[in-house]
């Protein structure tokens, strides 16, 4: 389609340097409002879901295999660069690189007041650190139809590890970053969205017995090791908990978030809301 090709051979090519800096540096990603993708599946998912891809890097070998399929989605905004297999290995973060890489623009920042729909169901990740957990939560949010996921003082949603762990769900689930809890609470209140604090101990309503009939709701999920901090859980309208039968440490943060999302969404997915 409208895609032009050039060849890059040198490791010190400025675009390769740009890619590697985006891959490793969170501040640089934020400044450039861009992040990197690795792997055929992820790049094609991004293209299919209308993500703003600026550059694709593809090894000769991967070009033969994937270029037909990729070119269906590629538009005039994107340049494709052919690279050697060796350069592919140099750029790769995974052990078995597929030879497909891309630089993608972040979506234009959406104002929190527009992101938070008053009848939506949201997940807020507060100080969640593990990229695998963040990715798993975004995948599950995608499957269950969560309205949006907000990263608050958590790991960087645009880090290569999180992006990979989302398996493409990053391009389907609305995501916002807001590191100001006061702003977040006041915007939630203004929209009449009720906040639930997911806690592991102390007095709390039992998930599965508590009422989800209000229209707008957000659940706050805390840090893997320490849970949700008390100052946050005290500001939420109610505390909810997953009752544990066995070892309390065995329910990891992503699994707990998945069960909470399921309870929030199941009435809505089944059409019984």
């Amino acid at each position: 389609m409208g895609c032009s090709y050039s060849r890059i051979t040198a490791k010190d090519n400025s675009l390769i340097k740009f890619y590697r800096k985006l891959s490793g540096n969170k501040k640089f990603r934020l400044a450039e409002q861009s992040f990197v993708l690795e792997g055929y599946r992820l790049v094609s998912d991004a293209l299919r879901n209308g993500a703003k891809i600026k550059s694709i890097f593809i090894t000769d070998e991967a070009f033969e295999k994937y270029s037909d399929e990729l070119s269906v989605y590629i538009n005039g905004e994107c340049r494709m660069y052919i690279i050697s297999g060796e350069l592919g290995k140099y750029m790769a973060e995974t052990e078995c690189p597929q030879g497909v890489f891309a630089i993608c623009s972040m979506n234009d920042e959406v104002l929190l007041c527009d992101f938070l729909k008053d009848d939506g169901t949201f997940v807020i990740l507060h100080r969640l650190q593990d990229p695998g957990n963040a990715g798993m939560i975004l995948r599950t949010a995608d499957a269950l139809g969560i309205s949006g996921v907000i990263f608050c003082k958590s790991c960087d949603v645009y880090s290569p590890k999180v992006v990979r762990a989302t398996m493409g769900s990053l391009f389907r689930v609305p995501v916002a970053v807001c590191n100001d809890e006061d702003k977040l609470f006041s915007e939630l209140e203004r929209k009449n969205i009720k906040s639930d604090a997911a806690v592991v101990q102390g007095a709390a309503e039992i998930v599965g017995e508590c009422d989800y009939s209000c229209t707008g709701r957000a659940v706050w999920i805390g840090n893997e090791g320490n849970g949700l901090s008390e100052d946050i859980s005290d500001r939420c309208g109610r505390k909810i908990t997953i009752p544990m039968h066995g070892n309390i440490e065995s329910l990891n943060a992503a699994m707990a978030a998945g069960i909470l999302m399921w309870e929030m969404m199941k009435g809505k997915i089944n059409g019984n809301d």
Copy 2:
């Protein structure tokens, strides 16, 4: 306590060779009815839960750090070997080894008829392949109080990857291996344990709406890519499904199993059964 120490320095020591062969070879693990553990947390979890540990290998550095805590649980059956840091690196599978390793005996095989209690709630993993998923399912089963998990033609529960991913839950959740579906179905029927097939498509009851009031129940979870095979799901009393709002591929097998376990167990955990 009753633990004796010796020092191993050579890579070709027979016990080190034995450890490495157990680590890498499923048939050998089965023949020797033994498997390996790596990491302080896992070894101490095993000891605390009464696992039959035959040998512990500990680097000089780790000995200073952990020997006091470990010795509380160690009994006369176990020998402790001091090894060099270099030998520790040679034995390690993880990137940042903690310098603690162990050889553990599998539990005596329990007859399927004794494993399956007629009022229990079971999970059967059929052709599940990913060690991370298997480990996450065992962790969640531990947290939610599942009566037992049965591996049927799935990945090896005693592989180092699965053992690590269970984070110690392997020593708390009853686990059985049965690769004969006919035997499994007939034993389930004899105990009047109802089988649910977890399916991703086709006519099925909606999880969250279906009845869980019978006393004994088992849910069959299938392969990550292909789901549960039709010949298995047709033999189950009912098919159940998690209704999906967004992308169907986004709900991974471990997360789906977690939601199913939660729905089976929540009445029991809350004491409303």
